[in-house]
Amino acid sequence: MDRETRLAWLVDHYQRPRHKGALADADARVPGGNPGCGDIITLYVKDGTVSWEGTGCTLSQASASILAERVNREHTSFEDILAITPETWMDLLGREFADARPQCALLALGTLKAAVKTVEMNRTLKAAGHTDEQIKELRCAIDSLEA
């Protein structure tokens, strides 16, 4: 893909974002980003489907749209999501843009990985005998510690 084509692809995803919106009763809802900087992403995962909400720069929002489109289209497994390296993702977006703003380029990927890990941990907790209510309380406690 040449520079102009890649630029048009990114801008198109920014202007016509795919899979944008909240997922009701999501298995995980994970926020990411820096309000002080301006890029905000929230990733939703439900039964292997991904959606997102967010505001921010062209690259961060286009990256989220492209990621959600790929994962949903290719039914990417959790294992494969976690195996996507930052380098691979930045290569896909285009080094001429991603190298200058790695945080923006990687925000969606990192947040999606955090969401996937949340789902996996919830499953582990459930397998260990915790109820949904107990898991929810644990999550609230963890969130309050992180805040």
Partner: protein, 295 residues
């Protein structure tokens, strides 16, 4: 111009110490084809320029153009001079910055240019947002200019830039510090952002004694233009006890938002000794035993 657009007052009537450092969007529109004027767009959003920019403007990127690719520092004089010449800048060129996010990256570029002693610098009051709100033209074609002949001085980091040891000394003298980040960052409630490995910090809070004055307070949220001097004095002097004669250090996360406050204090209010600590919280909040206050 849309009828609902909030009016802005004339820059000359706002009581600024150096009003000539700001130009209005109309001034820009009147000088689009002035060969002695070079518009530079400096954004947070690396793709924004490509989606449309003021006719004739060239892009300057704080990472790829101004930062050294290896050291956490700015480029050296030869590279900076080549950069400016490549953008068609000569010794008699008036350089006019504008950008997204209410000009915080424009003032950052302005500050870096000042480190090299470049004169004839201006900022478009209201920046990119004001230009767009007024319904003015954006284009995608990139204009090329013949190479310029500007010569720049060696970078002088002594007057308007502060390094951590100097901030530590400043702290010992109970010097005035301004933390321009969001209140959440100042209070240490927002410690590190998920998957923000390059700009995170191990500790949250602020440098002891720093006043919390978010950078955006200097800007009218409706018009994106700078507030008049009287309002700025209320914010910085009456509310927070700063004086124009104070030695002030401003900081944020990586020095970009604080360049906006440096600009407002220096040029709009006439403060004589303001330095931007570009190491900012990403350095301070990661430094072993650096003192931190957290309310």
């Amino acid at each position: 111009m849309p009828q609902t657009l909030a009016e802005v007052t004339d820059i000359a009537t706002r009581g600024y110490a150096q009003p000539e450092v700001l130009v209005s969007t109309q001034w820009v529109a009147d000088h689009l084809d002035d060969p002695k004027v070079r518009l530079l767009e400096s954004n947070e959003d690396i793709l924004l320029y490509e989606t449309g920019h003021i006719p004739g403007a060239v892009k300057i990127d704080w990472v790829t153009d101004l930062n050294d690719p290896l050291l956490r520092d700015y480029i050296d004089r030869p590279r900076f001079e080549r950069l400016l010449r490549a953008k068609g800048i000569s010794k008699d060129t008036t350089i006019v910055f504008y950008g997204d996010r209410n000009n915080w990256w424009a003032t950052y570029a302005f500050w870096v240019f000042k480190l090299f002693g470049v004169e004839n610098l201006r900022v478009v009051d209201g920046g990119r947002l004001r230009w767009i709100d007024e319904g003015r033209e954006l284009v995608t074609d990139v204009r090329r200019y013949p190479e310029g002949n500007i010569s720049v001085k060696e970078r002088d980091d002594s007057r308007i830039r502060a390094f951590r040891p100097q901030v530590e000394e400043h702290l010992k003298r109970s010097g005035k510090l301004v933390d321009v980040r969001s209140p959440e960052e100042y209070r240490g409630e927002r410690l590190h952002m998920p998957e923000y490995p390059n700009e995170g910090a191990v500790r949250g809070g602020h440098i002891p004694g720093a006043k919390s004055i978010p950078w955006g307070r200097a800007v009218n949220a409706e018009t994106h233009t700078f507030k008049p001097a009287a309002e700025l004095r209320t914010i910085y002097e009456a509310e927070n006890g700063l004086r124009a004669t104070d030695d002030v250090v401003a900081y944020c996360r990586i020095g970009e938002r604080s360049s906006h406050t440096w600009f407002a204090l220096t040029y709009l209010l006439g403060f004589k000794n303001v330095r931007n600590y570009d190491g900012s919280w990403t350095e301070w909040g990661n430094t072993v035993r650096a003192p931190i206050e957290k309310p």
